[in-house]
């Protein structure tokens, strides 16, 4: 099957030198509980920033705040140098410039796979449906899912569903892809197919922010690793430093806990 090549990243619109995404002093609380206590983060073009930390440390909230699914309490978030968290700004056009993939896929069960993939392009971006279908099929084909285009999502394996969810987020060519623990709901034997797809997107220069529990994957794919604890970024640095020589005691404790949980004879970071 011959399909047109679909470019996955879009390098337009950024003022020279500005990071794709920038967070400054972002705070967020739910019902009086502070979930984010001042997050500063910068994501450059083609960079992959990985957020690690225990459950409840605020990783997912960071991603949901960036995609404007949560309203932040204080601070600023910039997309291509423009503030996107200004009160009164319509979040819809901004969300169209970002792609978010959820832990539980959140595919629409009443729509076939291809309709899931093109919904955002057709309804959000007003892309011509026929054109969107061609582009959607091409993307599914690239992701090895062309033969599932007419199936309903729950006929697919978890790994296939998550790849469809990634295709759905990618079809509109987002400036950055936000991946929220995308392998946490998968059976161990299905994790690999999703991770290798993300590696591929990274290799093609997709800008991304990932929350993950997969440390070896984080080590592979990250340009920058941020360790979150209790709503703060405790330590950030290149993966070599964070995983081999963490400076902060909290980071050391977190990694040691992970190490004990896995086989103690194995190195923390698997090849």
């Amino acid at each position: 099957m011959s399909v047109p090549e679909v470019p996955l990243s879009d390098a337009t619109g950024a003022p020279a030198g500005a990071p794709v995404l920038q967070l400054r002093g972002v705070t967020k609380s739910y019902d009086g509980k502070d979930v984010l206590k001042g997050i500063d983060l910068s994501v450059g073009e083609h960079e992959a920033v990985v957020l690690i930390g225990a459950s409840g440390s605020g990783k997912s909230t960071v991603l949901r705040c960036i995609d404007l699914l949560e309203e932040i309490d204080d601070g600023d978030i910039f997309l291509d140098g423009q503030p996107i968290t200004v009160p009164g700004l319509d979040p819809v056009p901004i969300r169209r410039r970002l792609g978010l993939v959820f832990q539980a896929y959140n595919l629409f069960p009443h729509m076939r796979v291809l309709d899931n993939v093109i919904l955002g392009a057709v309804r959000g971006q007003r892309m011509d449906p026929a054109q969107a279908r061609t582009a959607g099929l091409a993307l599914l084909d690239r992701f090895g899912l062309a033969d599932r285009a007419r199936d309903y999502p729950d006929k697919l394996s978890g790994g296939q569903q998550q790849r469809v969810a990634i295709a759905r987020a990618m079809l509109t060519r987002p400036r950055a892809l936000l991946l929220d623990e995308v392998t946490s709901a998968l059976d161990p034997e299905l994790i690999g197919e999703v991770l290798s797809l993300i590696r591929e997107l990274k290799a093609e220069g997709m800008t991304m922010v990932l929350a993950t529990h997969e440390m070896s994957f984080a080590n592979d794919v990250a340009d920058l690793v941020c360790f979150l604890e209790d709503g703060r970024i405790v330590e950030q640095g290149p993966p070599e430093q964070i995983f081999s020589a963490p400076r902060e005691a909290a980071t050391q404790r977190f990694l040691a806990r992970l190490l004990r949980r896995e086989d103690p004879d194995q190195p923390l970071v698997r090849g």
């Binding site: 699914l69 969300r95 959820f102 959140n106 069960p109 009443h110 955002g120 729950d154």
Partner: protein, 286 residues
């Protein structure tokens, strides 16, 4: 402890299965004959049976009335279809207003809650009288005066309250993450409702929705108290002339002719939806 060899062969098991099956068929057959046969015998031998038969099952009056009733039933069918459409639209609107908190709509939401409470709490027949005979006495210009139309409005008001609660249950059963996924794709809240949330909610509440359809279909007969000559009204006229209840039975058959195929149709639709999705979800298709 497991034995190292088996005592029963495959043939033994198959034979046992066949025996069990034969016994089940025999039991259900005998119990059906005993129960239904006993009941029928009891009724047919009752001392009042000939009178009952004359009053309710008279072939003469059935033949004489069925033609008129069936042609009047066409009005019921048309009324039912129009009212049903109005009910669906009103109910969905009320459910959306009550489910999603838009500050601007607060007074409307309050009104919707009161509306649903009152309409569900009042006997339908009272509503039909109130709207059917009450509105014309107001003598207001621009309001409809057709009794058929007013009766239809009364039924639509009553049923939209019930059906809105069905829709509301459906809307609330769609997981919030579906809405989040729709927004993340860049859909507006309205688009998320239209393309993602309402379709899933509607699919889930199809069985209770149909339940209310069937109830409405029968309650169209209530409009007869205002005078329009629909099937039940025509049957009553025959009944008055003949001192015989058979015409009412004939009208009942007309209603059954619509409700039973409707039920079967929706059952089949749901079954097919489940098959398409490859999951035998006991709660119906998602």
């Amino acid at each position: 402890m497991s034995t190292p060899y088996t005592l029963t062969t495959r043939a033994d098991r198959a034979q046992a299965r066949r025996r069990r099956r034969r016994r089940q068929v025999a039991i259900s057959g005998i119990s059906t004959v005993v129960l239904l046969g006993g009941l029928t015998a009891r009724i047919l031998t009752a001392s009042g049976w000939p009178v009952f038969r004359r009053t309710f099952l008279s072939a003469y009056w059935f033949g004489k009335s069925i033609g008129g009733i069936a042609s009047a039933f066409w009005l019921d069918v048309r009324l039912f279809m129009v009212i049903e459409l109005a009910v669906l639209l009103m109910a969905l609107l009320i459910a959306l207003i009550r489910t999603f908190e838009v500050p601007l709509l607060f007074p409307v939401r309050l009104l919707a809650s009161v509306y649903v409470d009152v309409m569900r709490g009042v006997p339908t027949i009272l509503l039909v009288y109130l709207i059917g005979f009450g509105i014309p006495t107001l003598n207001l210009k621009g309001l409809p005066t057709s009794l058929t139309l007013l009766g239809g409005i009364a039924l639509a008001m009553c049923y939209s309250a019930y059906v809105s609660e069905v829709f509301r249950a459906g809307l609330m059963s769609v997981h919030p993450s579906q809405g989040a996924a729709a927004l993340a794709l860049g859909l507006t809240p309205g688009q998320a409702l239209r393309h993602v949330i309402v379709p899933q909610a509607t699919r889930r509440v199809l069985p209770p929705l149909l339940n209310d359809f069937i109830a409405l279909q029968k309650d169209v007969a209530l409009i007869s108290i205002l005078g329009p000559q629909e099937a039940f009204r025509v049957a009553q006229i025959f009944q008055d002339q003949a001192f015989n209840f058979t015409p009412l039975i004939a009208a009942g058959l007309c209603y059954l002719c619509v409700t039973i195929p409707l039920t079967r149709f929706v059952d089949r639709m749901q079954w097919r939806a489940i098959r398409d999705r490859g999951s035998a979800l006991a709660l119906g298709p998602r």
